[in-house]
Symmetry: D2
Subunit: 322 residues, 4 copies
């Protein structure tokens, strides 16, 4: 297993020190519930518009259905259950004709983070707190009274940049357990001749999802071992002042994790302390192939969340437009 | 009740004649499942990008929660049920600490057309057929084998135009039963100094939703009487070759309907015969106020659907960006 | 509003004193999770069998569907949502024939206490504790680690007694806010010539549900004002050592409550302190009419809960057999 | 694979001939929706009461949770999803104190036939018809307008008999594909010294579920190969005039099936033509061990279905009482 960085497991003391270092608590006032999405301002929106130069649109959303990646490895998540409330077979049988309209209708039940998704800032806690110092107890069975996804429903629009780490390293997919370092991010950006700017939506491709799709089975994709961002990248992200980070993996960060003292150490730091919005389970194949073809790794990016009141995540269908 | 058009109820013979007149079956080949979204091509995407001139973004999505508009008047639709799979109160109680991560997680169950939404082309049938002549029986309990919303997951991006009919007529809201005619659409566009182009996403404001929000109760919003598009507008839409039409009402067309011989006559025609994509329950207050302020009624519009496999609709959070 | 008992509101001090008086904590050992259902032993089961003397069976379950009593007045409860996974219209369309079997299949989503139901002992807390002194925090998003309904899945079988208070008082239904006192319970039993025994399932009829069914609307049935048991009945119940109590109301106890200092004071005491199992929303019309006719108010009673692991309630279809 | 009967695959002509032979259409009038449950009359109920001789009660219900037998092999069924609407961790956090009551509440979403269950008479069709000749199209997305489970909500009570085939044959479990013949049923009854009577609820034990529970994994239990009733048993059942048949398997009948021309041939015949009620996924270990111990294979049996309006099945918690 190639990890390409300091293999020593780090301690909670290190995690806590870095957490303070990259904390943005109070940076946008005590009432803020948007975190790093605050980096998206009028200028960033204007820049996004300018990215549309060829008239090409890509969906980065995996279809939502019973064949999704959830396999019961983590939490109580399950794949989407789509059921019909009315059908064409009903219609043709004449059962609807008294109502004067032949139609189909449907519903879905799904964990908000079962597929392509945003984590809301209320998703992860640091000790007893969430983003900006709010009490974690404000997320009870009635949902997140603070830091819910509906608070950022107008913010998921800006300039997107793809960092195709797999292609940069010359592999179809990074291996499980293989970490992406700050140097990797910089080297990929340089090789791709793309600049990372304040307020960007940075999308990192590991090839993990495509490996599973090619194999025809998800295996440990959702909650098992995976390639992903090294813990140190929280510093890179903080320094760059990006709006959000997204990957084609289940949980952005490398697994097994780089410490034995907690689970998902990078999550501990970037969501509740830095206030970073995070996108996961992105489908990047078509976009990445196009970028490799035309050499353009920047685009207009948008992924409006469903504004489910007090939710700590949202399924999404992100779009990249060139 | 002001209707401002020929009050005579029309016959099914008229409906069927108009349906043939505006039919697009076969226009994009026998395998097409996108209908009028085919009008969005590279040029339309480029035009959309050029609409971003000020750096302002608006969400047109109503929040999804138990306070939504569904009141059991039509079909089996209900308001969204958002429940938690893990909470901050659990986290603080220490119950999660064995897992090394404190987090909240959640799920939702919702009819796909309970709130701000796209109708998919498989939603409405004409006799035994759906869009492009596909057999309605292809929509069974396993969903829409043809014309599902996932087929257009990359297409909901283009130039948007708001036609603020309520403001144009000088009212806070049109009345229930009041119809919007072709002349109304043209007059509003002219007064707003905005041009309707091929491939546009045209958004029509009646004020209906704002009336309900101001009153603090939905009443008959979902399935009762409503202002909306006159049946004749299907011809206007067909002639303009727009990509989609969206309104701030439950069902786009005027209710009570203009015929007693069927329900939702305009739906009968525009979805299965014309192949028109339709958006409903749009929240337009903020956007409309901004357009009135700056006089700019065109914008980049995007509303990526959740690609729920074989679904006949999708909840969305549309965005307008200027 | 007739209340027929001391109208003075009582204090939390009184509630707490009575709670200690009727507490059964430790009575069946420190590991008990069944409470007063422990009163059902072999003798009680044998007695139940002897109640079957005429060969008549009654269902006491209200049908579960969208027309149930939930109207959003209390908690996040909603009426059952029953949807199909396969239909006869699909079957007849031929869509299933490749599988060699024509069938229908279905699912339901429902709050466990939305209709005729048992409360589990984990449903109500007293301060930070639940039945038998278990920590309330043992009920988290993963359910009730103690006092779940599945722990009593073999216990809902015994002798049932109907106390038809409405008929005894000569009314179709008690009024909302009208309380049933210990004297009422004794007087009704005496008039009905029925004895209350240790381990009985006592079923109290107020007429409330029948009033709503006759009116064709539920109104405040679920969570509003209601007739019901006076707080003092917790002492009567404790003394009688019954297994469970059930009513035709939403919440057994009288509403408005007899104190302003908390909500559902009787619940505070009988579930977490006494360990009483409680049944609600029972449909009693047919049984009550039969009892009035034949003068027999005792019967075999059974209402097996669905053993949903770690659940704090269960929908049921109780049966009374004479 | 031991099958112990004529191994020749039978034809659809044979199936159709037997279907006519055992048909009960019209036997209880043209409006009947209860089928063989009509065999339960006052005498059968009285007999059931007499079975209670020792004061022992057994639950035959498997717990309903995420660890249930559904593995996606058949249909769209999934395991129960139990989620909380309020928790003890919320309560202890103080979040509920404004409401004056500390409580937990919950909900479940489940296919009605995902665990221990009744099939309703509307579950299986024969050509275009269901039980008693009703049109299969009467089961549409709004549920079963005829033959719904709610029609028999008062009928699931009678004399039960266990036929412990596995024990009779001296094995822990029959093998997958091993069929139970009419001779097996008779021989087991004779060896157990128990008589099968009109209106009985006959429960057949194969050991299949216990084999899975012992192995700690369900494997193909739900929809794969299984031991079970031979097709010929439909004649035995018809002759005996029993009320219902139940097994500890997923689908009662032997799998692989005895014909290649359709799936579940015994289902084709016994549900829509004979009108037989069927129970599946029964947990029989405790009851069977007790019967082996005391030699008593008859008991009071009850398994009230949830009266979900228009449902084609119901989860249940059956009870056997001796």
């Amino acid at each position: 297993m190639t990890r390409r960085f300091d293999e020593k497991k780090f301690s909670m003391a290190h995690l806590r020190a870095v957490a303070e270092e990259v904390s943005n608590w109070g940076r946008w006032g005590p009432a803020d519930e948007m975190g790093t999405l605050n980096f998206v301002q009028a200028q960033q929106i204007l820049d996004a518009g300018r990215m549309v130069r060829q008239g090409k649109a890509f969906s980065l959303g995996l279809n939502f259905d019973r064949h999704g990646p959830q396999r019961g490895l983590w939490g109580n998540r399950f794949n989407p259950i789509h059921t019909m409330l009315a059908t064409g077979t009903d219609a043709v049988s004449g059962a609807q004709d008294a109502g004067g309209l032949r139609y189909a209708d449907d519903m879905v039940s799904l964990p908000l983070q079962c597929g392509t998704q945003w984590d809301a800032l209320g998703h992860i806690f640091f000790d007893d707190k969430m983003w900006n110092g709010y009490d974690a107890k404000l997320v009870d069975s009635n949902g997140a009274q603070r830091n819910g996804i509906e608070k950022v429903k107008h913010k998921m629009f800006g300039r997107g940049v793809l960092l195709d780490i797999a292609r940069h390293l010359g592999v179809a997919s990074l291996q499980d357990g293989e970490a992406i370092t700050n140097d990797d991010l910089d080297a990929a950006a340089k090789a791709q001749k793309v600049e990372i700017r304040r307020g960007d939506f940075v999308i990192v491709r590991t090839g993990h999802m495509e490996r599973c799709l090619a194999a025809g089975e998800w295996g440990g994709y959702a909650g098992g071992a995976a390639p992903g961002l090294a813990f140190e990248t929280c510093r890179w992200i903080h320094r760059r002042e990006i709006a959000a980070i997204c990957t084609d993996t289940w949980g952005c960060e490398v697994r097994p994790n780089e410490t034995d003292d907690c689970t998902q150490p990078w999550h501990w730091v970037v969501i509740p302390k830095m206030g970073l919005t995070m996108g996961e389970i992105f489908y990047l194949k078509d976009l990445a192939e196009d970028c490799a073809r035309d050499g353009v790794y920047e685009f207009l990016f948008t992924a409006p969340p469903l504004p489910i009141t007090h939710a700590v995540g949202s399924p999404i269908n992100p779009m990249a437009v060139k």
